[in-house]
Symmetry: D3
Subunit: 208 residues, 6 copies
């Protein structure tokens, strides 16, 4: 009887079965300005909220000797709409994450191995530059150009966290040199000379 009455209370208090505390991304349904559509709660499991894709090192065997592995909503559907996402940075000795921005989010970097020199530039063109050790945090305000370079003789590892589940990532060199923006326009809008532009377009696969 006691139990029966209490269960009745549950029914009354929990009748709002449609309440969603989260919105796990359904990557195949329509996307809105606020993010992906929500997967039905019925199909949500704890695995939607867990992501193991950052536990393995990224491949640093490239010219930048570094890798960025994202855990944005597209990779980690559980963060959709929650205002957070992550990525892993691997920097071999001499590795560089070149100048880039996240158009839609601020970022916190946590160094978990090695040493990383990181910097950002403000709208007033001031440089904020620091060499970080294991356990240090550094915050990069939204939309500002920043970079990370290895400061150790061995691989450094960092994790970065963003204030959006879809922060975006615009890498400066790729934006300038890895597409069909005409060399002349790149020159006019960056003050770089044509030879420099053509060389980098060549390396990065750009045309025009």
């Amino acid at each position: 009887m006691f139990k029966f009455l209490f269960l009745l209370a549950i029914l009354i208090l929990s009748s709002d079965a449609a309440v969603q505390d989260f919105c796990v991304a359904d990557l195949k349904a329509p996307e809105s300005p606020s993010g992906y559509s929500c997967k039905s709660v019925t199909n949500v499991t704890v695995d939607d909220f867990v992501f193991s894709g950052l536990s393995a090192a990224g491949n640093t065997a490239s010219i930048i000797k570094a890798a960025v592995t994202p855990a944005f909503a597209a990779q980690f559907p559980g963060v959709n709409g929650l205002g957070l996402s992550a990525a892993r940075l691997d920097l071999a000795a001499g590795g560089v994450i070149p100048f880039h921005t996240h158009p839609g989010a601020s970022e916190i970097l946590l160094v978990v191995q090695g040493s990383i020199t990181a910097g950002f530039v403000s709208s007033a063109n001031s440089v904020y530059l620091k060499t970080l050790k294991k356990g240090d945090l550094m915050v990069f305000p939204q939309g500002l150009l920043h970079f990370q370079v290895s400061d150790a003789g061995y691989t450094s590892v960092g994790y970065v966290f963003f204030s959006s589940s879809n922060p975006g990532l615009q890498i400066l060199d790729f934006a300038l040199f890895a597409n069909d923006l005409p060399t002349k326009l790149v020159g006019a809008t960056t003050f770089l000379d044509e030879a420099t532009i053509k060389k980098l377009k060549g390396v990065l696969g750009g045309t025009n």
Copy 2:
């Protein structure tokens, strides 16, 4: 002629037929982090903006001698996306709305009948406790644990309003004891003894 020209003006000025001042929930269409999809304006009537489901008393014939009746977006589609929703509280003499939180909203309580003692606890563990009379308002900041208990010898009634159309409702005892979270884990994370946990799991239908 006068009328003709003015009607022309209407056409020019009102040509943006797609403008929506609201987004009445279509509960069958995709949900996004910002709420339910919008019903076509063509099908919207005033009844979407009116909700009579809180005019009748909730059933207080349960062990808590109380009932919570929600008017969130799932019940009251007109509030979808407007940053507001409501619920009705009925507390018979001795009734209790046990400790709970709304993960996504702040709340204002209005007492319309009887007397209710309400309280919340802050992150600093301070208690804010007050006995409210008819016509009093009390605000409960977002996400904090709070409760309401009857302070009258007869039924008290309150209405609560939330700063979200989907505030969520997490009832502490149900979160702890009405599911399959293992007794041992509940004990480790609450410092309650096993006997207490098992008793409450029994009452609330929890397992493990």
Copy 3:
């Protein structure tokens, strides 16, 4: 010993004494776009979160036979920054809350006594009109013109709740006729004739 260790845990876990779960308005300190400055937590008491100013009826002995009593952040400092506020509507028989808008918030009306006919008009000029009984809710989307009129032979009472702690209140007749906006301009921008404007300016204390 047991207690000592646990208290240590408290110190470690609660060291962030500066955390504020709320921002009770300090009406004398600077105001920002997000609301009033916060009163020091040390000085906050439960009375900051409770407001009794809506428990008494407003004075309906005016030509509109109605009164609006606000509980915005300026009157009810505990709601500051929490995205909620309230007001009380008293409508004597024949009472009218004339056409008005809240520039910064959506609104939910709860009828607690009598009967109220309420309506709003959308951007598409559609009218959403309903006569509400005790216990009914109606939502008015942000920024749209709306009104409430008594539908009972005795005093009706409603409480309204807003999706902002500072919703604003622009009463149409006062905006048009209770200031120094030149009669000619009022005429040109409303298509009302000069005699009508001058009469209402006279009643409402407008000039020019």
Copy 4:
């Protein structure tokens, strides 16, 4: 080899193909409280971000001698979700954009030709009125009643920009007189006399 390695870097760094920096409106897919669904990036072209519909003058051959041409998300899909939209104002000599509000946005007016007298009224019923010349800007805070009237003997042109991709537009006279809101209710809620209301309903096509 150099190129190969660098391209590898591109693959690693750009693997998040699903990132959207924008959400061009797909007007046929579901709409959410945050805006229209996003068109697939694959189908997005620069023309989605460009709008030429404001380059031609609106038709001012109406009784208000003025026209408003919107470039909201419904007309200009590229602005969807970006918190911005626009419109063009044409005012022939004597032209008037009558009192109106935008329920969901603040507005900046730029005068590009002629001279325009613009004003808004605050919640405190204060009038902010100014005659603007070419090149002047004026800002109208969200949701407040405002108007623009020609101040030149020839056509004046302005462009307005909104803090939302879907600002809404509620024209006072149309809200009051261009629908089926009963004359008696309009009278009770505006204090206008019945003859005035019926006349304007006649002109604007209202009934009841």
Copy 5:
């Protein structure tokens, strides 16, 4: 008597004197994450909401043959907290607004004279490029690299509007070359050669 009663109504309805529909910046008071502190309403005049500083052409007698004149909250206090601001672009023949970002806002460009070729690059490195004529609008999504170049044999003029009262402005060349970021680090993070960097640092006043 009629007037007396109505004035009483005004008092009752307008008692909330502290309501602010806007927050005109007090540039000397504390700034918060949401913007500048608000000037007292008593001291606000229409001139706070009007800005004439964009009516005169910027000085294009520089190497870029162009000028950007801002009307952000710091210059135009009335926009503070309203989610909007503006700037004027002057481009002499051959003028260039070099690659830049606004870290905190999307932008709409309106061409009012001449012809401007504008472009932006997405996170996916796609180029969106268009030559705009007088009256055309183009939107640049938040935080993405973009530029504008003259496409006319005479001065072109554009006005840009932002979705924030404080959008920020980071000009690529100045961020890279007009400060003390060491040449070696610039090289490592941009893949530009040292000679190029040193030359641009020389021109732009950078050191190290």
Copy 6:
């Protein structure tokens, strides 16, 4: 000459010296609902954006064998207003971060050492429970009850990141038992028996 002209361009383009891309907390100035007041940019250095306080292990010599070390805006002023903050979790063998919520933020946990079993409970009382290894991420949606317990025979370390610079932290046991909330009220609102409550109040320093 070339340099002179370019510097002129800098002056024109950078004249908006007041632009802030960030708002480093001035902990002594007024706080608003959006966060702390901003420190003058002149006084900001890179050290405001770097935090080393999480590089050392927290003291786990307490009954919970665990420690939480926060890096919220109060400790790490550079994150103020940026929508992000962090904390470090140390769990000795058998350590437990007991049930708690963050009223104002979602959270991502990164395990950097050992193994941690973490779980949260939804509004629907569903349990999402997982044992995480080094490098795994788990997200906890805003405001929901969650916990972390050691799953290794040695110390496990995690870092957590929040979607707010001031997420709050409400630890269930402290909210219930570490203050002066009367035992009778705790009992009525939790269904715990008086002996259990008194025992835990004794351990945690609660009274009444």
